[in-house]
């Protein structure tokens, strides 16, 4: 109910904590800004040797890349630190969260907001703005709205993947890089048109895990292009529904995971 204000306070406490380490924070902020820039450099390099990738030209792919990068950066800042749950489970820090009258997930997310990654959001947004300006988009009110909705839905979907995969730590304490394979792997997957991937891989990642709805389908909607894979037109606009479904599934997995923790202990 009024819990929101408490989580806001927990976040603010975290922000003030960073003030204790100003210099290292500034360095982290700068180096994090480089990450999306290096990725975009890779794409530009690819287009030096080929005029199109999976049937899309450089400007179109950059729109996709911008949407994917912005979605991922938003999710990474908001819930990326959930991957630390392994440490919380192993060291028993989760016990300290369980004896407070707040949601465990809420506390974990507010306990360590990776603000040093905020620079990635800024850079990803800049890339998206430039790409959209250069791409042949006929703007309608629906498409303007989609420019806001798509990164939001994409962030929710990535956030769901983060939570669901991190929850594996409750069962499998040394799950190591398993979660990263789906989170960072998913980010790289969504940066390119799904037409470049083989069928098995595509069905699993694009549709099974929903990654096609982060950038590929919203980009088709922005460009007004039909799906080269022959998918129905409504798919282009269904990102919010897919994101909501993913969030629901992730919250169920999380609940089962916490219950599992309480029946395992540390």
């Amino acid at each position: 109910m009024v819990d929101i204000s408490i989580y806001a306070r927990l976040l603010w406490a975290q922000v003030r904590s960073y003030a204790a380490y100003r210099a290292s924070f500034a360095i982290d902020l700068a180096t994090n800004a480089l990450v999306p820039l290096l990725d975009v450099a890779t794409i530009i390099a690819l287009f030096q040797v080929t005029p199109d990738i999976g049937g899309f030209d450089a400007n179109e792919v950059l729109v996709m890349f911008g949407l994917a990068a912005l979605s991922f950066a938003l999710a990474d800042v908001a819930v990326g630190q959930i991957e630390k749950i392994r440490i919380y489970v192993r060291t028993g820090l989760l016990d300290a969260a369980l004896v407070r009258p707040l949601s465990v997930l809420g506390q974990l997310l507010c306990a360590d907001l990776p603000l040093r990654k905020v620079s990635r959001i800024v850079v990803a947004l800049a890339i998206l703005v430039v790409a959209v300006a250069r791409a042949p988009i006929e703007f309608t009110p629906a498409r303007w709205a989609l420019l806001i909705v798509a990164p939001t839905a994409g962030a929710v979907l990535f956030g769901a993947i983060y939570v669901a995969t991190a929850t594996v730590a409750f069962w499998w304490i040394d799950s190591g890089e398993f979660a990263n394979a789906l989170t960072y792997g998913g980010r790289d997957f969504t940066s390119f048109p799904v037409t470049v991937y083989g069928p098995a891989f595509r069905y699993l990642f694009a549709y099974g895990l929903g990654f096609a709805f982060v950038a590929y389908y919203p980009t088709l909607a922005l460009l007004g292009r039909p799906d080269p894979l022959g998918g129905p037109a409504f798919l282009a606009w269904s990102s919010p529904a897919v994101a909501a479904l993913a969030a629901l599934v992730a919250s169920v997995i999380w609940r089962i995971g916490v219950r599992q923790y309480r029946s395992t202990g540390s």
Partner: protein, 327 residues
């Protein structure tokens, strides 16, 4: 009828351990950490919860605080079922886990208390009154220091404060004096004595520090191998486990003949035979009787009687428990 703050009947907790046997195969085995505990703690009691490492102390505390789900048995804390009503329960209990801080590491201590006020939704007036009281009683002169700069003793006093700021009905203290210097231990004990004597907070204290037990706990619950092996006062523990006093007698010259009394053993004798140490079971021979006997046998120069220490009792108790467990 239930005025009990904590009520457990047949509380049990199993853990499944998977052990590798061979390259891929794993064997599952079930370990029972808590094996049918009955416990009833009334409002305002201060109970010492003791046991050797691995006896099931922390598993019990985790079940009582809603961190761990019991495998079987009945459990109510403040009338609530801990795991299913975790958040309601968290409002009514306070917890100090010796090694796991509730404080915000990089912020001034004051800020942690302010956050706690919001987390537990404490009315500002109550918060101010309690904070003033704890600041006085625990001498919190370091409210503006970041937590990471506090000494261990200061940090423990801060942990106690944050656990009590919302006025919990029950507070669980897991080794609150571990690693503290003498002065800090005294400060913590004095504070807990005060808290106990006010009588409005139930305290469950786990500790290995025997001085804590002697000064603070009127009731001791001792567990071993997941079972309660003693529940009662310190005195009844001594009586039950035949605690012995040590009687040291200094004589003008060696005894002409040995002392033969029931429950009296000569445990040490000086090379010149003039200083004798006896171990005495007071229930069989009163100390006065031993002294009178010694005085009759020879000329008694000096006598001293040492009370049984809880170290002896607990060591004996743990040893018994181990024997029972392996038998």
């Amino acid at each position: 009828m239930t005025s009990a703050v904590i009520e457990a009947r047949g509380l049990r907790r199993d853990f499944t351990i998977r052990k590798r046997i061979g390259r891929f195969r794993r064997q599952r085995s079930v370990v029972t950490a808590v094996d049918g505990i009955d416990l009833r703690i009334e409002a305002g009691e201060l109970v010492g919860y003791l046991g050797p490492n691995g006896a099931g102390k922390s598993t019990t505390i985790k079940m009582l605080t809603g961190v761990l789900r019991p495998t079987a048995g009945y459990l109510r804390v403040c009338g609530l079922e801990p795991v299913t009503q975790r958040r309601q329960l968290a409002r009514r209990i306070g917890v100090v886990f010796g090694q796991r801080s509730q404080l915000w590491w990089d912020l001034p201590l004051r800020d942690s208390f302010e956050l706690a006020r919001h987390i537990w939704r404490v009315p500002p007036a109550d918060h101010a009154a309690r904070l003033a009281r704890f600041t006085r009683e625990l001498d919190l002169s370091f409210l503006d220091t970041p937590v990471r700069q506090l000494s261990l003793g200061q940090r423990m006093r801060a942990e106690l404060t944050i656990a009590l700021l919302h006025g919990p009905q029950v507070v669980f203290l897991d080794e609150p004096t571990i690693g503290l210097d003498v002065l800090s231990k005294q400060a913590v004990r004095a504070f807990l004595t005060e808290l106990r004597d006010r009588g409005d907070t139930t305290v469950v204290l786990t500790t290995h520090d025997l001085a804590d037990i002697e000064r603070l706990c009127r009731r001791l619950v001792v567990i071993d191998h997941g079972r309660v092996v003693h529940d009662g006062t310190l005195e009844s523990l001594h009586a039950r486990y035949g605690s012995r006093r040590a009687v040291v007698a200094t004589l003008a010259e060696p005894l002409p003949e040995p002392v033969r009394l029931p429950g009296v053993d000569l445990v040490q004798i000086s090379p010149d035979g003039r200083v004798l140490t006896f171990s005495l079971d007071g229930s069989r021979t009163p100390a006065g009787h031993l002294i009178a006997t010694l005085a009759a046998l020879g000329s008694l120069r000096d006598i001293s009687i040492a009370e049984p220490t809880i170290e002896d009792v607990v060591a004996r108790l743990y040893a018994d428990g181990t024997d029972a467990g392996t038998a």
